[in-house]
């Protein structure tokens, strides 16, 4: 069998890919920032929060972690409108990613909080800080630093998982490659290009997150 590789089409479709990459980056940017914020709030509830709230957060976390992201996405995009919540595809994708990362990062961040030495809480209390002030100013940053590598890995996983948002017609990188291969009839090459682009994005995202870690955690030891 002789297969003739052909990448001539690439130049023509470059703008389509670039646009797809831009959407994928937008998705992970929103997803990561808001998802981690949600994760912090949920982790606080699970580790230190009011008892009555804990079962709700636990249910949310277990529900998300034990169902496929694709189904979460379909449920939000197709299911919620029947309750009167109209969402654009991009909004649905953003929400799905935030909700998904929120659950995973909750568990990761909780582990970081629970590894906090008791003395740190006592020092905060003895300086007349409220529990919430102690959490915000004393506990949170070292807790995030402890688990930052795991959190970064999870963010990369969510970025790669975002490829399924193409299924609700969000024009991300996967959507772009679906579009291109339907025009150039070069499916394998097209998806190969998209795959390698994702690989580059994953490596770049990892580096960016390492860099963010260097900036927000000035000290190596916690």
């Amino acid at each position: 069998m002789q297969y003739q590789w052909n990448f001539d089409w690439l130049a023509n479709y470059m703008p389509v890919f670039v646009n797809g990459v831009a959407i994928t980056i937008e998705l992970i940017l929103v997803g990561a920032v808001l998802g981690v914020c949600l994760g912090i709030v949920c982790a606080w509830v699970r580790a230190l929060g009011p008892v009555w709230l804990k079962p709700f957060v636990a249910a949310y976390v277990e529900l998300i972690r034990n169902t496929p992201f694709l189904i979460q996405l379909f449920f939000i995009f197709f299911g919620l409108p029947s309750l009167g919540m109209k969402l654009t595809a991009l909004q649905a994708a953003n929400i799905a990613m935030v909700v998904n990362l929120g659950a995973y990062s909750c568990e990761i961040i909780r582990a970081g909080i629970q590894a906090t030495p008791r003395g740190q809480f006592e020092a905060g209390a003895s300086l007349a800080m409220t529990p919430l002030q102690t959490f915000r100013h004393v506990v949170l940053v070292p807790a995030l630093q402890r688990i930052w590598p795991a959190l970064a890995s999870q963010i990369v996983i969510v970025m790669l998982g975002s490829s399924v948002v193409s299924q609700i017609a969000v024009e991300d990188l996967t959507f772009a490659s679906n579009f291109v291969q339907s025009r150039n009839f070069r499916a394998f090459e097209t998806y190969l290009v998209a795959t390698l682009t994702y690989l580059a994005l994953a490596i770049a995202l990892r580096k960016v997150l390492d860099g963010v870690g260097w900036v927000i955690f000035p000290r190596r030891k916690v």
């Binding site: 069998m1 297969y3 277990e62 529900l63 972690r65 034990n66 169902t67 496929p68 992201f69 694709l70 189904i71 979460q72 379909f74 449920f75 197709f78 299911g79 919620l80 409108p81 029947s82 309750l83 990369v156 790669l160 998982g161 975002s162 490829s163 399924v164 193409s166 299924q167 996967t174 490659s177 499916a187 394998f188 998806y191 190969l192 998209a194 795959t195 390698l196 994702y198 690989l199 994953a202 490596i203």
Partner: protein, 219 residues
Amino acid sequence: MAQFTVFDILRNLLLATQWTVVLSIVSFIGGGLVGMLVLFARISNRGWLRLLGRGYVELFQGTPLLMQLFLAFFGLALFGISVPAWLAAGLALILWTAAFLGEIWRGCVQAVAKGQWEASASLGMGYFQQMQHVILPQALRVAIPPTVGFSVQVVKGTALTSIIGFIELTRAGTVVTNATYQPFLVYGLVALIYFCLCWPLSRASQILERKLNVAHSHH
């Protein structure tokens, strides 16, 4: 058009669930076998083999599973085979699972204390004897909880095979939704079925891990 009762919907979904289960089991076992190869490449004393293993893991962990499914689907077609979706789905999921399991197990092998290597070497054991009698038995204990935990990812991963046309739970959900126009109910039920498949595995993993930690603290 016929009216669908909740029972009809559920029956159709559960019929498709069996394919999710079959594909999960095949992928997990196949991925485990290939994962063994990945593991041995990763901890080999040959540099090029380690590099190869590492490249494999980076590639499969650094790209979307959906892309791997597309490449398997269209890549197999390049060989002139008319590819059934189940074949592409199985192949991609096995290779993907192998990368993650291989990496999980590598971590477990490397968690075995260095002294164990040294002690067994000092007893005159060769590499394979060390592995067989000393290192792997210890690594195995540590490996079980995360391995069970990863099976959850495999079950969830099978949902993506619906996109290349494999008929399983997610695909059935879409088909039933299109027939009933009840996305909230149908996808809710689909999610519930996935949850029933995955949650026991998650719990088992957590319980096993707790047991292991307790056993460790008695040392």
